[in-house]
């Protein structure tokens, strides 16, 4: 497989999953995927069999934040023009005239919901000014 073919495959996946900022305002992944100790992940795995995680080098498991947000029923959630993207829940979106504070408010709601359900704190990847 050529590198051009790999890049084309990556681009096709990204286009299918991520919103185009020219169409709908967003900053890509809003949250980082959190890392948790393996023991904590194993306990969560017993309760939520679909939980998605990848082992790190240091005995930690990186958990897919998008999956957790989706499990909280927040995929596609909107308030005013601010919301969670309806395909990739890791992305917050501006449907038109949302203010930065409204997006920030949504991000706090998402963080609280994830923490209450999974006991895991997720933090923004985006720089908040």
């Amino acid at each position: 497989m050529t590198i051009a073919a790999i890049a084309n495959a990556v681009m096709a996946i990204r286009i299918s999953k991520l919103p185009d900022p020219a169409v709908i305002g967003n900053a890509g992944s809003f949250f980082k995927n959190p890392s948790v100790p393996k023991e904590q992940f194993d306990l969560l795995k017993e309760k939520y069999q679909g939980i998605v995680g990848y082992k790190n080098n240091e005995g930690l498991v990186k958990v897919a934040a998008g999956w957790m947000i989706d499990q909280c029923g927040l995929k596609g959630f909107t308030r005013g023009d601010a919301g969670v993207h309806d395909i990739q829940a890791l992305v917050l979106v501006n449907h038109g005239k949302a203010t930065g504070s409204e997006i920030l408010e949504i991000s706090k709601n998402v963080r609280t919901a994830v923490f209450e359900k999974f006991g895991i704190e997720i933090v923004p990847e985006v720089n908040i000014i």
Partner: protein, 177 residues
């Protein structure tokens, strides 16, 4: 050097948030950047650098100086048996850099195609996708101190890359090697 006042940032952030900058300027050369920083220092402003505006959420107007990095250009520095070393300006659009590598049949960052933002921001948070991170192909960068205009080099290990992390969250990037 041109300093603009009360500029809307709506078209400069990918969230499309309406916010304004008290002062705004852009630089195409390192000399231009130094001139702007000298002016900024006299005014006692805290400059903030903006690349593609694709990883920022403005929750209020910015009561300072926003600097847009327009350092562009990609050049080959050297090559050896294993690697080709490229140097790119911090203002180069990241995806354009990826496409440049592909066109020249240089492998390494093809998995990072279509990530929004600029080359200058890529090591700041060690961008990554599909199992590859910038740190895997990164050699070194040159950064400028916002206060002193001194330039510093950071090697791969000096960047202390982690997951969406590096030591670089306070320096202004100028260009990357």
């Amino acid at each position: 050097m041109q300093i603009l006042e009360n500029i809307s940032l709506k078209s400069l952030n990918s969230f499309g948030i309406e916010a304004s900058a008290r002062y705004f300027s852009q630089f195409k050369t390192i000399e231009e950047l130094q001139g702007i920083l000298n002016w900024s220092k006299l005014k006692g402003l805290n400059p903030m650098i903006l690349g593609g505006g694709s990883n920022v959420l403005f929750t209020k107007n910015y009561d300072g100086l926003i600097l847009k990095n327009e350092l562009i250009g990609i050049e080959k520095v050297k090559d050896d048996d294993a690697f080709v070393y490229l140097k790119a300006g911090g203002g180069v659009v990241w995806h354009d850099f990826v496409m440049y590598c592909i066109k020249n049949n240089l492998s390494g960052i093809e998995n990072l195609a279509l990530i929004p933002g600029c080359v200058g921001a890529s090591p700041m948070q060690n961008i990554g996708a599909y199992g590859v991170e910038v740190k895997d192909c990164f050699y070194e960068l040159t950064a400028m101190d916002k206060q002193t205009s001194c330039m510093y080099k950071f090697t791969n290990s000096e960047c202390e890359f982690g997951y969406r992390e590096s030591v670089l969250n306070t320096s202004i990037k100028t260009d990357l090697l």
